[in-house]
Amino acid sequence: MPKVPGMIKGLGVTLKTMTRTLTKGSNTVQYPHVKEAPPVRARGVIALHQDNCTSCMLCSRSCPDWCIYIEAHKELAPPRREGGKPRQVNKLDRFDIDFSLCMYCGICVEVCPFDALFWSPEFEYSEPNIADMLHDKTKLSEWMETVPEAPELEAGADRKKK
């Protein structure tokens, strides 16, 4: 069989792709109308579980570009048991993350010793003004609802899922 010239083959590739797009649909999706679900682990936005936060500042300190702002004050909480001494707890005043600085590295989520920070795959929170990317603790807590369960692990994994 004589060799098909490469230029003819090239025409064939584009024609084949065109027929495939016309018959089987395109590879793209029409974004605002159709949305693809990001993977469970996707690092979309950081959600805050306020009750778990002890304002220990570990996340703020380990952030590579220092975009987490925490302010807290000490408060006396009623004792856990009857007749005990009132406990001293840290009450969170301010927990802001500046998403215009955030590099989405996930170090803060990892270092948090009390499981107060979580990744959510939510990604639609763009703002026309860069200053509006600074989100406070109420907004961060709202994203808590979008946090999915951690996925099952592949066979052969040692550690149980968190």
Binding site: T14, T17, M18, T21, T28, Q30
Partner: protein, 351 residues
């Protein structure tokens, strides 16, 4: 337009009709080509859908784009030669309007019926080179200058194979009148079989291929798009243009594509006609009047076919280098078309 004369239109009225007809004949194919090929076919070849938001299936996208371009600021670079810079796009579009004048759309539906129609068409098609050179020179930009010079070199190199490819058709038809070339194709027969007429794509296949390559280069479509060459020269001679001046270049590019495809279909595919044997017509005088209305549709259909080939190659191929292109024109295309002329002439005399 004798069929219009039946309505007793005065001469100035005919002129108005001609101008309007010319506008439609240039802009409508340009818009269709941009939407069907540039927006949709290109997207499908790349596994995507292309514009979908403006109008049903994005069909009004072009209107949106034109609106966008018209809103843009009209910028002229500080060091540019202002007058020439502003004239250049108009000159490019002008050549398109001059070209469409000779394309026949039906037995009586033509703008002008030149005796030397194809000669005129090939002559005025070179006017666009002038506009491109003006744009490249006047922009005061090195990329523009390189693009303009490349365009000049390329278009001149490909004018010759184009002319030589057409000569084969002219020899076979025995006329330079485009209307008569159409009639000769549709009234003709191949070895006595007249069901297909005698479209010259069959007898002049070599000429057709050379002509197609030449118009690909003439239209500066990939693989011959060095004058624009986005990755090398930013946008070539169009680099400094924005707003509606760029729009005029854009319309010029695709309108010229449409008009050249019309000329190619006239020369090689039988133009507005269907084989006359289908309806038992003997000559152009017997052709029914409804062909004046069906003719434009047939021409547009054939034009879309030709444009499909041009665009298909455009979306599949990388581009040549300037020197390779010149070598290809002078060492391959011109000898081939010369041989084609000789063979055609020998057959013409012998048969």
């Amino acid at each position: 337009m004798s069929w219009l004369l039946a309505f007793e239109v005065p001469y100035w009225g005919q002129s108005v009709f001609r101008v309007l007809g010319g506008l439609v004949a240039v802009l409508l194919p340009a818009g269709t080509i941009v939407y069907v090929f540039l927006f949709k076919m290109m997207s499908f070849m790349q596994s995507r859908l292309g514009p979908m938001e403006a109008g049903p299936y994005g069909s009004l996208q072009l209107v949106a784009e034109v609106g966008k371009w018209l809103q843009k600021e009209d910028i002229v670079p500080a060091n540019a030669d202002r007058k020439i810079f502003k004239m250049a796009p108009v000159v490019v579009l002008l050549s398109t309007f001059l070209l469409v004048a000779v394309v026949p759309f039906g037995p009586d539906a033509w703008f002008t019926n030149f005796e030397t129609g194809i000669f005129y068409a090939l002559a005025v098609s070179s006017v666009s080179v002038l506009g491109i050179l003006m744009a490249g020179w006047a922009s005061a930009n090195k990329y523009s200058l390189l693009g303009g010079l490349r365009a000049a070199g390329q278009l001149i190199a490909y004018e010759l194979p184009m002319v030589l490819a057409v000569i084969g058709v002219v020899i076979q038809a025995g006329t330079m009148n485009l209307q008569e070339i159409v009639v000769a194709q549709n009234a003709g027969s191949i070895f006595g079989f007249d069901g297909l007429g005698n479209p010259y794509i069959i007898t002049q296949f070599v000429g057709f291929v050379v002509f197609m390559i030449a118009i690909q280069a003439e239209l500066t479509q990939t693989p011959f798009d060095m004058p624009i060459a986005e990755s090398e020269l930013v946008s070539g001679y169009m680099t400094e243009y924005s707003g509606f001046r760029f729009l005029i270049f854009f319309i010029g590019e695709f309108a010229t594509a449409g008009v050249f495809a019309m000329i190619a279909s006239t020369l090689f595919l039988g133009g507005w006609g269907v084989p006359f044997a289908w309806f038992g017509w003997e000559s152009v005088d017997q052709v029914d009047n409804w062909m004046n209305f069906a003719g434009p549709v047939i021409v547009i259909t054939k034009m879309m076919l030709i444009t499909f080939l041009v665009m298909w190659a455009r979306f599949s191929y990388p581009r040549f280098r300037e020197d390779q292109l010149q070598r290809f024109a002078w060492k391959v295309l011109i000898p081939i078309s010369l041989v084609n002329i000789m063979v055609t002439a020998v057959f013409k005399v012998a048969l």
